[in-house]
């Protein structure tokens, strides 16, 4: 298991990368990572409280325990067994069953919200009004009105806000974006994303009365199911890569397999339309996992599978030696053509492996880096530009999709939505 020292070393290296890559310099949410490395000094310590100690909350705890300069000062959950289990993991943390009481705790810099979707907005707004910095899990909120309220409140707070879309911090996704910007696939003409599983998506429960509470993702009163809990990630990526939000969408959803009392769709199909004529085709199901999950960014010159981190070029690349040879002839050089080797063999569709986007897959999917960035931003006392836009675009997109399916009509981007 990697420790805090390793993570410190990793973040130091990342700061160098963040400082040197032209692309990363364009991504403002990476800027806190370029800050001076934190020390063990008390003045460098950021004190955080986390609400929601379920699966996601516990993953955050694991990352935070390794993030330099971070103290998990408080944990909050209204489900006692989860709270006790997480308190056992974090030495010295104070436990709360009421979020507002946690906000009143003196010396707390920021909060992480990893609760069911329907609670996000209330907690974000309360945290902002208590002057706290906020890290909110995706999806942003349960309704479009709530998304707007969070964006409006944030605008005046001067607080740090971050959304739990870890792909914004994934080196693989950054490389994918860099390749797209450099024209590796040409113009983006379609993004196809899917998230396929083959299980009932339930947490085991000891008592049936806990079902709605612990399996909140399956109930429409608390969540929009597949759209908010899974699709929001890929809609964030799509909006990010396209640099826009969808103008409208249509879709169908149903419960065709898991007829077990849930009232969110167990399969969804949504098509989003963007102003420039690009479409994002999204589907998610829970009754077949063969294709797993992927976001495919397509263009006339190639396809990027960003989750797998691979690029599939449509045409074979020109032989590097030949390019060099032409260059030498045109510029009057007499250079060796570095060419002879065992024969170049093309990728065949049936067993093509594509080209890896990054040499080594990062130690995490961006979640750990994003938490370090959050802590650094708090330390610097500077809001992270662009983050609320990312959160709102994806948050609203998935709610549009949900509405389109429920009302069986085309749903437009909410007019007048202001980020």
């Amino acid at each position: 298991m990697e420790g805090r020292a390793d993570r410190r070393e990793f973040l130091k290296r990342l700061a160098v990368v963040a400082g040197s890559s032209a692309l990363i310099a364009e991504l403002p949410w990476w800027s806190p990572l370029r800050a001076e490395p934190v020390t063990e000094a008390a003045s460098d310590r950021v004190r955080l409280g986390l609400v929601g100690t379920g699966t996601r909350g516990n993953l955050h705890i694991s990352h935070l325990l390794r993030t330099p300069g971070v103290e998990i000062a408080a944990l909050c959950d209204d489900y006692e067994p989860h709270l006790q289990a997480s308190l056992a993991r974090v030495k010295g943390a104070k436990g709360f069953s009421d979020f507002r009481q946690m906000l009143d705790m003196p010396g707390l810099d920021g909060v992480l919200i990893a609760t069911p979707l329907y609670q996000h907005a209330r907690m974000c707004l309360d945290a902002f009004s208590a002057g706290k910095h906020v890290f909110c899990e995706k999806s942003l909120a349960y309704t479009i009105e709530e998304c707007q309220a969070i964006a409006d409140t944030y605008r005046d707070t001067k607080r740090v806000f971050q959304i739990g879309h870890q792909r914004l911090f994934s080196p693989t996704f950054l490389r994918a974006l860099e390749l797209v910007r450099n024209g590796a696939i040409g113009q983006i003409t379609q993004i196809r994303a899917y998230w396929h599983r083959n299980n009932n998506w339930r947490n085991p429960i000891s008592d049936p009365s806990l079902d709605r509470r612990l399996n909140w993702r399956l109930y429409r009163d608390y969540s929009c199911g597949l759209m908010t809990e899974l699709a929001s990630h890929h809609m964030q990526v799509a909006n990010w890569f396209l640099g826009a939000h969808p103008v409208s969408c249509v879709g169908y959803g149903s419960i065709n397999y898991w007829k077990d009392g849930r009232d969110v769709y167990d399969n969804v199909n949504v098509v989003y339309r963007y102003a420039d004529g690009t479409h994002v085709v999204y589907d998610s199901l829970t009754s077949n996992k063969f294709y797993g999950m992927e976001v495919q960014v397509m263009g006339p010159k190639g396809l990027i599978e960003a989750e797998a981190g691979r690029l599939y070029a449509e045409a074979p690349p020109p032989a590097p030696g030949i390019v060099q040879l032409i260059n030498s002839i045109e510029h009057g050089f007499f250079d060796t053509v570095p060419i002879g080797g065992p024969s170049w063999v093309p990728d065949l569709k049936r067993d093509t492996k594509g080209v890896a986007l990054v040499q080594e897959k990062s130690m995490d999917d961006g979640t750990g880096i994003s938490l370090a960035a959050f802590a650094n931003a708090i330390r610097l006392g500077e809001p992270v530009p662009g983050m609320m836009e990312q959160a709102c675009r994806s948050g609203v997109s998935v709610l549009m999709g949900q509405t389109a399916m429920e009302q069986q009509r085309e749903i437009a981007w909410p007019e007048g939505f202001r980020i």
Partner: protein, 301 residues
């Protein structure tokens, strides 16, 4: 031929170059029609399908090619052999599953290889094989053959300087580099940083490189480049390449493969029967996981 072809023409205007490129494409497609073992329309495909059942009469051109392959098979002491496909297929399949073939499977594949199992009826102009499961593979030979045909066509068209490359393993040049006395062609390190290990100066000549490589273009393990020893039936070990420069594209192709699997002490014998050639063998020794190229053998340099 399952690779890419590049052609650089010097001193030819764009319009003419376009026409020559189209002519080259037609020529290459004709070669595929003749020699591809994958194209169901090709002559070799038809031969492979029928020649264990009945004597097959190939076209005059294919007859000449097969006779030439027989000639090279004899002149290389059996090291150049166009009948190794069953072994190649066996190893490719097994290694992609991460396994070695069983002795029985290896023996079966070996039984289905060997140019001496091909019978030519000079009177009827027919070919047959005595064993089922045999299959000809003119992949390597085909590149050299196509390059010679293309080079001839360009000469006839009046092109004086040109650089032709098949997947970077087979190169034919016309004349010299416009800014020097020859075309300097470097044999690259198969490991990063891929710098040239040895540079051949080619003038109206061909260069062919055979060898094993750690990766294919996509970065995956490479099985297509396995070089199988015709007698043991096993892939040669380690990472090595052998490059041969020759006035003949076909002979460069034949010799690069044949010499690679021939022990060093027997190579001079083979070479004594060929026109002026030069050759370089590069062997990659592993030191703590890093592979460094070393020129292990040279000829005519």
């Amino acid at each position: 031929m399952n690779t890419r072809f590049s052609m650089v023409l010097v001193g030819v205007n764009t319009e003419r170059a376009g026409a020559l490129a189209q002519a080259a494409e037609r020529e290459l497609r004709a070669c595929e029609q003749l020699m591809s073992r994958f194209d169901v329309e090709s002559q070799v495909f038809d031969l492979n399908r029928r020649f264990a059942e009945e004597p097959v009469e190939p076209s005059a051109e294919l007859w000449r090619i097969l006779a030439l392959c027989g000639d090279y098979w004899r002149r290389t002491g059996g090291a150049f052999d166009i009948t190794l496909w069953p072994l190649n297929r066996l190893w490719r399949g097994q290694l992609s599953r991460g396994e070695e073939p069983t002795e029985a499977a290896l023996q079966q594949a070996l039984d289905r290889t060997g140019f001496h199992h091909l019978h030519f009826d000079e009177t009827a102009r027919t070919v047959r094989v005595e064993r089922r499961g045999m299959s000809l593979d003119l992949g390597g030979f085909g590149k050299g053959y196509a390059l010679e045909r293309l080079a001839d066509g360009l000469r006839v068209a009046g092109v004086e300087r040109a650089f032709l490359s098949f997947g970077e393993s087979s190169v034919t040049v016309l004349g010299s580099h416009p800014h020097g006395p020859a075309w300097p062609v470097g044999v690259s390190n198969i490991f990063p940083p891929h710098e040239p290990v040895h540079t051949f100066l080619l003038q109206d000549a061909s260069l062919s490189t055979s060898g094993t490589a750690p990766y294919n273009a996509a970065g995956g393990p490479r099985f297509l480049g396995q070089i199988i020893h015709p007698r043991s039936g096993r892939p040669i070990k380690g990472y090595r390449t052998l490059s041969v420069a020759s006035p003949s594209g076909i002979e460069a192709e034949v010799l690069s493969t044949a010499l690679l699997i021939t022990p060093e002490q027997d190579r001079a014998d083979i070479l004594s029967g060929f026109a002026v050639v030069s050759a370089v063998e590069i062997v990659y020794d592993s030191d703590a996981g890093r592979f460094a190229p070393k020129i292990a053998w040279k000829f005519g340099l």
